[in-house]
């Protein structure tokens, strides 16, 4: 679905064609959920925040505001909701579930063999929140550096540096 089609769907939705918004959800529902899930590591919370993301998008459209790049806009709203979520939990540090020691014991990856999803997920969660979010957008959601830079409010150069650092971090476990 191209950007232009998304604009058309949003326009249709705002003019009384609810199914058009349903189609937008079909395309982005899982993506937004996944993006949030890797930040909160909790399925229920991720689902809740993903629902809130789409509601916010709808409120924005209903207010008559124009969305130029829907994809970047949707991820940005999801990102802000995650930040708000942690803020609401008494400024709790974004989760790093596994301690260094646990990781050392449980994740040792043989570079020559395929690794399963669980190990990958654990590896990913070893990264600081900022790095993890960018790695998810780049390598799981296949977004361009330019698109990521718009979502995380950083320059494309800065995003590249973060990706480089993250990969270096991940290599420690191989």
């Amino acid at each position: 679905m191209k950007e232009i089609d998304e604009n058309l769907l949003l326009f249709k939705a705002s003019h009384g064609e609810p199914e058009a918004f349903g189609l937008i959800f079909d395309k982005y529902g899982n993506k937004i959920y996944r993006f949030i899930y890797f930040r909160v590591k909790n399925q229920e919370t991720a689902e809740d925040l993903a629902s809130q993301t789409f509601l916010k998008i709808w409120e924005y459209i209903l207010a008559g505001k124009k969305i130029r790049e829907f994809q970047a806009f949707a991820y940005k709203i999801a990102r802000n909701l995650v930040v708000d979520y942690y803020r609401s939990r008494d400024k709790e540090e974004l989760p790093l579930i596994y301690t260094e020691e646990e990781i050392e014991e449980s994740i040792k990856v043989d570079p020559d063999t395929a690794i399963n999803r669980e190990i990958l997920e654990k590896l990913l969660r070893t990264l600081p929140d900022e790095q993890r979010e960018i790695i998810v957008l780049r390598y799981i959601e296949d977004l361009s550096i330019k698109a990521i830079s718009k979502i995380v409010d950083k320059s494309p150069g800065h995003v590249r540096v973060i990706i480089h650092r993250s990969i270096k971090e991940l290599r420690k476990y191989t």
């Binding site: 959800f25 959920y33 996944r34 993903a50 509601l55 709808w58 990958l120 997920e121 790695i135």
Partner: protein, 419 residues
């Protein structure tokens, strides 16, 4: 990392969330009513991607400008596909296609390319710089390209029709009909001028058949649009009649293959006044043809294998059947059915061309095709088959053209259609 793409929300949540959102949107927009303003905006957003050029289109445009200004003109003049400039022109053509934004404009671009390609084939046929082998090879390359362009034009026309471009479609279909007519004529000239023989002609004949098929589709489209666009039934009937005459002409030419060394005495055709009579005459002649052929083939063992004789006989009978059906359908005013039967004849012609092309090549001496024309013994071998040639190409074509004029004058043709 791609493994993590499989992390997905539960289906239950997806369903619930979707349903909730759709209901929410429904509630919030309940009071909204669609207006003409809304419809215009929806239309505009839908077409925005066609109006705003994509990077690919912009680059193609620049490439086109550059190529046209620098080498484009020189490349356009090149007709030999083995030359570098020819491939430059092909690149320009590709760029033109990228820039065509709608199926209608794409069809027009393809038709423009067809015109250029057929001119290239004609120039190759007239070229004295090339030897026979080289010329035939290049002509085959060019007509193969033409065949692809024709198919693409037909596909674009089909898409244009499906997207309901309205009145433009009728004009476009007329343009295709006229272009294909010119292309068929030009390709026939290519065969004459290049003096192609046997299998060398197969590619050109295939291109003619493909062009005829595309024309059939365009005429069918016009027939479909007849009521919507107030097209003249007489005009459409004439198109079908011309097509039948051309199919007959093509068949005669195929059979002429076998009598290249023997003079054909032109037949004087009886004066006929209606389209139906033309068709009936053709059908009768074809019936005689079929009868003669069965007897004649036994004299032709040296050239045709029994299998090929049988196939040719079958094809001739089928040709006659289709011609009869076309005649009946035309008399009943069922143009679609008539057109379908003519299309069947076109297919039969392709098959006959293939058989005869192979056969002539097998029967020709090693020195080359030209020798066959002077070689009486070879011509004797094909004499039997020549007996099946009562239909005269020139007579048929002239008669049909005259008939169309006569019918237009006395209105008999439209009576046929209205029945």
């Amino acid at each position: 990392m791609k493994n993590l793409e499989r992390v997905e929300a539960s289906q239950e949540w997806l369903k619930q969330a979707r349903s909730f959102l759709v209901n929410k949107v429904n509630q919030d927009t309940f009071a909204h009513k669609t207006s003409w303003n809304y419809n215009i905006k929806v239309w505009f957003i839908g077409w925005q991607d066609k109006l705003v050029p994509s990077p690919v289109k912009a680059v193609s445009f620049l490439l086109l400008i550059g190529l046209v200004s620098a080498t484009g003109l020189a490349a356009r003049a090149e007709f030999n596909p083995s030359k570098f400039l020819y491939s430059v022109w092909e690149t320009v053509e590709r760029a033109e296609l990228v820039l065509a934004t709608s199926p209608t404009s794409q069809t027009k671009v393809y038709l423009k390319h067809v015109e250029k390609t057929v001119k290239d084939a004609q120039k190759l046929a007239q070229s004295e710089k090339l030897d026979d082998q080289e010329r035939n090879k290049h002509i085959n390359t060019v007509v193969t390209k033409l065949k692809k362009e024709m198919s693409a034009a037909s596909a674009s026309l089909d898409i244009a029709e499906q997207t309901k471009a309205g009145g433009n479609i009728t004009e476009l279909a007329k343009e295709v009909t006229s272009n294909t007519q010119n292309t068929v004529n030009a390709l026939n000239k290519v065969i004459e001028e290049s003096e192609m023989k046997g299998a060398d002609k197969v590619a050109v004949n295939e291109a003619i058949a493909a062009t005829e098929a595309v024309q059939g589709e365009a005429i069918q489209l016009l027939i479909d649009q007849q009521d919507l666009q107030n097209l003249s039934a007489e005009e459409l009937a004439n198109l079908v009649v011309e097509k039948i005459a051309r199919a007959t002409e093509q068949l005669n030419k195929i059979l002429d293959y076998f009598n290249q060394s023997r003079a054909i005495t032109p037949q004087t055709s009886s004066v006929v006044t209606t389209t139906a009579e033309v068709i009936d005459n053709l059908a009768e002649e074809s019936a005689e043809t079929a009868g003669d052929q069965v007897q004649a083939t036994s004299e032709n063992q040296a050239v045709l294998t029994a299998e090929k004789q049988a196939t040719l006989n079958q094809l001739t009978v089928k040709f006659q059947d289709n011609l009869d059906l076309a005649s009946d359908a035309l008399a009943e005013g069922n143009l679609t059915e008539a057109l379908k039967n003519v299309s069947n004849v076109t297919q039969l012609i392709i098959q006959a061309n293939e058989i005869l092309g192979e056969t002539l090549d097998e029967s020709l001496p090693a020195e080359g095709n030209q020798a066959n024309q002077d070689n009486q013994s070879n011509s004797i071998k094909v004499e039997g088959v020549m007996e099946i040639l009562p239909m005269e190409t020139a007579t048929t074509t002239e008669t049909t053209a005259a008939i169309i004029q006569n019918n237009q004058a006395d209105g008999q043709n439209s009576d046929l259609i209205n029945e």
